[in-house]
């Protein structure tokens, strides 16, 4: 198996990211890490500044800390949404109460991550949120390299050869193909394919992925479903 390198993360194109985080050190770290991944970032140290920046600038994604001075993250998001701002938002929270996630998403967030988190997880999620990359929702047929998935007839073909998948495997592949070229983490898969938001104790997701890989790669020369070490998976053709 070929292990993809971190340089491939974010190959999908540079993003303009707004970071709202009051902890200077955390903000610096995020800025540095996002820049290394090839993205442009602006940092706001409090809710009011964040709101002003978000309201005037054209960002691809916003990373918003929930607890900020002057104005908390949720109210900033709610205010932006009421002004018609649809920029995808990932909420960062140190809270982690049982239904914080629900509250956060209800306020207008698109994704939610509890501190502490791994940066690879944050990066993968932010890249998936990027609206420029997410035009695939409306497509009925996904194509990645020589792999083809028809969402209407529920068929999968590679090099014109039909591959039979279980319903869950189909959904797994569908999600991976929708985000082809992007890193998809295990928790993202559990969230989006199984609709559960927790860290599975063992490598359950890995086994599902390797089963799927077996079906879509066996008998074909080129690997298409790659493992990104320390992060997750990426479906990538060519």
């Amino acid at each position: 198996m070929r292990a993809s390198r971190s340089t491939e993360i974010g190959y999908n194109g540079a993003m303009k990211i707004l970071i709202m985080e009051d902890d200077r050190e955390a903000a610096d770290y995020l800025q540095k890490a996002f820049t290394e991944a090839g993205h442009t970032t602006h940092v706001a140290g409090d809710g009011e500044t964040g709101f002003a920046l978000a309201d005037s600038g054209d960002y691809d994604v916003m990373v918003v800390d929930r607890m900020m001075p002057r104005r908390d993250g949720l109210s900033v998001i709610a205010a932006l949404r009421s002004r018609g701002n649809t920029t995808p938002v990932l909420i960062l929270s140190a809270l982690g109460e049982v239904d914080d996630r629900v509250t956060g998403l209800r306020a207008g967030g698109d994704d939610y991550l509890t501190k502490p988190y791994a940066f690879s997880e944050l990066l993968a999620r932010v890249e998936v949120l990027n609206r420029r990359a997410g035009a695939r929702e409306s497509e009925t047929v996904y194509r990645v390299g020589d792999l083809e998935l028809d969402r209407l007839s529920h068929t999968v073909k590679r090099l014109g050869q039909e591959i039979t998948l279980q319903p869950r495997e189909f959904r797994l592949l569908e999600y991976l193909m929708r985000h082809a070229g992007q890193v998809v983490t295990r928790t993202m898969l559990l969230e989006n394919v199984w609709d559960y938001h927790f860290d599975p104790q063992t490598n359950v997701i890995d086994v599902h992925v390797s089963r799927l890989r077996g079906k879509i790669e066996k008998g074909f020369d080129k690997p298409i479903l790659h493992t990104v070490r320390g992060a997750g998976y990426m479906l990538k053709g060519g």
Binding site: G96, E97, V98, D99, V102, T114, P116, Y117, A118, R168, W194, Y196, H197, F198, D199, P200, Q201, T202, N203, V204, V207, H208, R211, R229, G230
Partner: protein, 485 residues
């Protein structure tokens, strides 16, 4: 205990007693006035009736023989002892006959009933009265000069323009009224005394118990966290208050204990991986600078950190659930669907490990709760079951998941046919945080899976039981079946 008056008045019992006493006294005073005025009116009525009868008799005498007979009868009756007053005067008001020596001026001038009691002096009593008053009762109302007695009377004008007065002394009704007033006043005094006594015993005892409560709470605040408020066992309001406060204290103590446990666990169990992390970084630095080594060290550092983050999140989640978090975001959860989800999620892992997963679910099992949490708890349990079924004593390793109604509960049982946990105490310990039983130490995992499941069940007002299987271990998640919501 010694209390100053203001301190006593600050107590609720004293204030309430005082208020009640005041209201009661006002009522009693009103009652006294009402009673005396009523009885006075009644006695006046009676007196007037007597006078009327007397006048009737005299009128008959007058009809019989005219003025001479009347005068004779009056003289006769005047000599009889009693409270009746008779008087006949000429047109100028000069007393001609009767038993009245003198009376208040002006009484004879208006005909009809006297409008108010008047004072008079009876024949032959003036000297005696003066003597008696002067010697025995100086300064009393009776001693005030001429006005020895009070009376009411009917003043009539005879056909020959002479004036006749028929009256009755008020001494008796006035004495009666005085008796009533004295009796009522005495009763009032006794009542006040009774109120004070009641306050002293009831109020003081209430005061004492409140003091006991505040004394105990001071002790608890002072650090005696195991202390509780006194409960007498009578079951009154004070007991109920103390019991509620005690329950609250117990809850606080439990939370406190949980917090302490978390910090102990964090200190104990996160220290080890943190130290490992540090050592690894140090070792990488001290070795020869080689990119490959650095990379490997950093990668393992990240892996270790991720594991730490997971553990940390699990600890936080457990303590939040155990803190009795109550959520409004509970929904109808279809347990059958959750079982299907989790089994489907773990099926490939199980198959890879050579473990068969069987499910026995029939019917619909809806509970109110948090689908995510139930799913997470169940997946932890299934995860464990798959791991432990691997050392099956005989036959193929099997994990069976079943859902059924039993004893008013919905029971989700995950059974494996591994070695199980034969020891009862070990089974009980298995759900404690970070407890990893001896033989599981070699297995991967944080030791938090079952504690999380237990916390989730507590959150859902259910139970997590570990029962000995035959063979293996059965982990039972029992949900209360609700019909109300």
């Amino acid at each position: 205990m010694a209390l100053s008056v203001p301190a006593i008045m600050r107590t609720t019992a004293a204030r309430l007693s005082a208020l009640y006493l005041l209201l009661f006294a006002l009522c009693a005073v009103a009652l006294v006035f009402y009673m005396t005025s009523l009885s006075a009116r009644m006695l006046t009525g009676q007196t007037q009736e007597t006078i009327n009868d007397e006048v009737l008799g005299l009128a008959r005498a007058y009809q019989r023989g005219g003025l001479p007979v009347l005068v004779r009868v009056v003289e006769q009756r005047s000599r009889q002892p009693g409270a009746n007053l008779y008087l006949i005067a000429d047109t100028n008001g000069q007393i001609l006959t009767g038993n009245v020596q003198s009376l208040e001026p002006g009484v004879l001038e208006t005909e009809g009933w006297t409008t108010r009691p008047f004072s008079y002096q009876r024949f032959g009593e003036g000297e005696l009265d003066r003597l008696r008053n002067g010697l025995a009762e100086p300064g009393t109302a009776q001693a005030e000069g001429q006005s020895g007695h009070n009376a009411i009377a009917l003043v009539l004008r005879l056909p020959n323009q002479m004036i006749m007065l028929v009256g009755r002394d008020l001494g008796e009704p006035e004495r009666f009224r005085a008796v009533i007033r004295r009796a009522l006043t005495l009763a009032l005094g006794m009542m006040a005394l009774g109120g004070l006594l009641i306050w002293f015993f009831v109020g003081r005892s209430a005061l004492k118990r409140i003091d006991g409560v505040s004394e105990a709470s001071r002790r608890i605040m002072g650090g005696d966290l195991a202390g509780r408020l006194p409960v007498t066992g009578v079951g009154d309001e004070f007991d109920r208050l103390s019991e509620n406060l005690n329950a609250m204290l117990a809850r606080i103590a439990a939370l406190n204990e949980g917090l302490k446990q978390v910090s102990d666990n964090i200190a104990h169990d996160l220290k080890t991986p943190l130290t490992r992390l540090r050592n690894r970084a140090e070792a990488a630095l001290s070795g020869k600078p080689k990119v490959g080594d650095y990379k490997q060290a950093l990668e393992s550092t990240i892996a270790e950190s991720d594991h730490l983050i997971k553990t940390f999140n699990a600890i936080l989640m457990i303590s939040r659930l155990e803190a009795g978090y109550s959520s409004e975001n509970t929904v109808q959860v279809d347990l059958a669907a959750t079982v299907a989800d989790v089994v489907e999620l773990y099926e490939p892992v199980a198959e890879e490990a050579g473990v068969t997963v069987e499910t026995a679910v029939d019917g619909s099992f809806i509970v109110r709760g948090n689908r995510e949490l139930i799913g997470q708890a169940l997946s932890n349990i299934v995860d464990n079951a798959i791991k432990y079924s691997l050392d099956a004593v005989s036959g193929k390793p099997v994990v069976s998941v079943s859902l059924r109604r039993e004893a008013g509960e919905i029971r989700l049982t995950v059974a494996d046919n591994g070695q199980g946990i034969p020891d009862h105490a070990d089974r009980a310990r298995a759900t404690e945080r970070f407890v990893r039983l001896e033989k599981s130490r070699s297995q991967p995992g944080s030791g938090l899976g079952l504690s999380l499941a237990k916390a989730v069940m507590k959150f859902h007002e259910g139970r997590l039981d570990l029962l000995p299987g035959d063979p293996g271990l059965s982990v039972v998640m029992s949900f209360p079946e609700r019909t109300d919501r």
